[in-house]
Symmetry: C2
Subunit: 276 residues, 2 copies
């Protein structure tokens, strides 16, 4: 890259960060800026923390475990717990560092179980993307973490091979790995728009989750997203999702421009992040 | 801190960073943004790198030494060498992480032995501080790394106690630690304005260094800094300085607002950093 391109890229990123934080501050969000080095007490490392640790840059110093921030939501939840923050809506912007690479994240979190408040946060992110990033989100994919969890055992959920085969929709290999009449194979055989009915028929105990999916589908349509799909076969990108999770795409793109979902902190919560 | 204060602080820092980078880009600087995680090959770690390592967050992973950026100049020099960058003037802004804490740095580097080009960089930093940070630098302290090095042995230079005593100008304790008729004690006994003459009389081989100090003193006065002092007893803040180094203060402040100096990369170089 020549000087001009490099300079423009760096200035553009900084400007986007600032625009995003200003935009959200005006809408009543609390801004946070956390140290990139996180410390952990051995006594209070959660199972979720442990599971992420081998993907993180981490080291010990003086008996204390240190790790670089690898995900904003995760860091904010931990910080919020530690300092008993009252903030209801939080916005952040900055780098995250995983062993697999360094990426730029901007996003928002809200700590409430109120679905309409959660949906307002989604709508704020879409508004920013349209106004400031000139990105037109025309595809939304919605899933619910409970559905696949019902269809697969815990071991299967955590098996990277099953993960990959489900993501690839590899019916042949999955028939082999699970069984020919496994409901996951059944799901792959019905049309996408019939998936919910298929699940409702077999697992009446998932009525609430199916209802939730429909509520969010309705909201996303009202936010003028042309193509809204419920896809029960999407594996969550983050292990902390507890409820619906959403991926937002521009036309003809395979990588989502933004993603987020419901999770549980001390209260129910919802967050959306824009991939920079 | 309440929401408004916190939000304002975060937005102000982001804006300053962007203003600084824009200001310098317009003046022809190349902007750089380096990964906060640096990796080192065991075969090519320099003595200078080693000396800084115990103050840095560092860890090994797969046999590779990793460390967090702890000083921009240091990281830029290493990066420039590795990728054979041609850039003559570089500007940066961002966090640095030491075990002792996290600070925000913005600064510039120039890779040239041309003193007037080096002084232009100093002048650019002063212009930014005045225009954008509304900081009025009224005090400049100039030193040269060769002077104390001539007066003290290598062991004494690296002795933290001697370091502290010289910084504190503790004549009694130093008389004890060195000797009553040590030239460092002699220097403390003459008036600051007579220090150079005292050194010139005893160490004629330092004529060039003394001349350099006078050239920079003259430049700083021309840049409208009211009080310019040459102080031969200042210990360099960075071990990489090879030549003059400068600290800039506002009136009645004990911590410098900016500091910098000459060092050697593949070529001679000069850098100034603003403490955020």
């Amino acid at each position: 890259m020549n000087r001009i391109t490099m300079n423009d890229t760096i200035l553009k990123t900084k400007k986007q960060e600032m625009d995003f934080l200003r935009f959200m501050a005006k809408l009543g969000y609390d801004l946070v800026d956390l140290n990139v080095v996180e410390t952990f007490n051995w006594g209070s490392i959660t199972l979720d923390d442990q599971k992420m640790m081998d993907k993180r840059h981490s080291w010990t110093d003086g008996g204390v475990l240190h790790a670089l921030r690898s995900d904003w939501t995760n860091s904010i939840v931990r910080y919020r717990k530690q300092y008993e923050l009252e903030a209801e809506k939080i916005a952040y912007a900055g780098m995250v560092y995983k062993k697999s690479g360094t990426i730029h994240q901007m996003g928002v979190e809200t700590f409430t179980s109120d679905i309409s408040a959660q949906q307002e946060v989604l709508s704020d992110v879409l508004a920013f993307m349209k106004e400031h990033l000139k990105k037109n989100i025309s595809i939304a994919v919605i899933s619910h973490n409970k559905l696949l969890k019902k269809l697969l055992t815990k071991d299967q959920m955590e098996d990277p091979m099953i993960h990959r085969l489900v993501s690839e929709r590899n019916r042949d290999a999955l028939s082999h790995a699970l069984s020919k009449d496994h409901p996951v194979i059944g799901l792959m055989e019905v049309r996408p728009e019939d998936q919910l009915e298929y699940i409702a028929g077999r697992f009446p105990e998932l009525a609430q989750e199916i209802e939730d999916l429909k509520v969010w589908e309705d909201k996303l349509r009202k936010l003028s997203i042309e193509n809204v799909y419920i896809d029960t076969l999407v594996m969550p990108r983050q292990s902390y999702y507890r409820g619906i999770f959403i991926q937002l795409y521009q036309k003809n793109e395979t990588e989502p421009q933004a993603s987020g979902g419901q999770y549980t902190s001390s209260s129910k919560a919802f967050g959306m992040g824009i991939n920079g």
